[in-house]
């Protein structure tokens, strides 16, 4: 199954949850197809073919 993680194509073995994609989710936010997935829902949100996933965290900034 092919998805895009932070703009890069990624091959996943099959349907996986957001939780499996981001095992250490401290300080991280995830959006799937432009919608934020709350951390509480990571373990029950399954990724699908062609999903565009954004994984972001804090960087230095002004």
């Amino acid at each position: 199954m092919k998805v895009h993680v932070n703009g890069e194509p990624r091959e996943l073995p099959g349907p996986v949850t957001v939780q499996a994609l981001v095992p250490d989710g401290r300080g991280v936010a995830v959006a799937v197809n432009g919608t934020v997935v709350r951390a509480a829902a990571w373990s029950v949100t399954t990724l699908g073919e062609g999903d565009r996933i954004e994984v972001v965290t804090a960087h230095q900034g002004g």
């Binding site: 932070n6 934020v36 994984v55 804090a58 960087h59 900034g61 002004g62």
Partner: protein
């Protein structure tokens, strides 16, 4: 000072962008003793930037995520939502930039984004032009503070139009935080003297020859500016006015 009922420990806020290492971030924050530290939200990679969060959390200073780089209200709202989820704060320094050359705010998109985020329960601190009319619009839609620019981001040109900053101060009843353009400590002090409640500096510190030294200078400057504002400056006069008494002078 207080924003949205929260007490902040200092009127100096610092950005971390431009520092070469996490050790430098730690040292600058220690020297500045800021009330808030700003961060941006970017895609994760394997460069270990996750530890930036650990570094900043260890300082105990509250974090203020920004929406830097966003060009539309929609992008900025999305970025704020991600920041709230990642950092567990509903505060956001809202930036919507009109173009890459000037990095000036697109105030139309800004007001729209602010309104949406306030409705979603965010505490919105918008980076805006030094324009009292726009500032009022932002307060009207529920912003907790306004952050007018002194001069363009990273330009170090100081407060280009002090009267505009005073006009913003006079127009709104929320805290005014001078954001962008500060180049050195005297300009940070001036912002407070003009009536701003706080100052956010990033480039002025992070790209100074000695960032830690400049961070300390900014801390003292902001304190001095606030004290001067409170003390009340003398009016400007056209003519000189002697401070020594004229009576009792010796005769020759």
């Amino acid at each position: 000072m207080q924003i949205a009922g929260e007490q902040l420990a200092s009127r100096l806020w610092v950005g971390t962008g431009g520092l070469p290492s996490l050790a430098a971030v730690r040292a600058v924050v220690a020297a500045a003793e800021p009330g808030l530290v700003t961060v941006s939200m970017r895609r994760t990679s394997d460069t270990g930037e996750g530890s930036l969060l650990d570094t900043l959390r260890a300082t105990g200073v509250p974090l203020l995520p920004n929406t830097a780089g966003c060009r539309t209200a929609r992008e900025a709202v999305f970025t704020a939502e991600l920041a709230r989820e990642a950092l567990g704060t509903s505060w956001v320094k809202l930036e919507v930039i009109g173009d890459e050359t000037t990095l000036l705010p697109d105030v139309v998109e800004l007001v729209e984004a602010a309104e949406t985020l306030v409705r979603q329960g965010f505490t919105v601190l918008p980076y805006t032009t030094a324009d009292p009319v726009v500032a009022l619009r932002l307060v009207d839609v529920g912003c907790a503070a306004v952050m007018p620019l002194g001069s363009p981001i990273g330009s170090g040109r100081g407060i280009a139009d002090p009267h505009a900053i005073e006009a913003v101060r006079a127009a709104v009843d929320v805290p005014v935080v001078l954001d962008a353009g500060i180049g050195t400590a005297s300009e940070a002090a001036q912002a407070l003297e003009l009536g701003c409640d706080a100052v956010l500096v990033a480039t002025a510190v992070t790209r100074a020859e000695d960032p830690v030294g400049m961070a300390g200078a900014m801390r003292l400057a902001v304190e001095a500016g606030a004290l001067a504002r409170q003390a009340g400056r003398i009016p400007r006069r056209t003519a000189a006015r002697a401070s020594s008494p004229t009576r009792g002078r010796v005769a020759l």
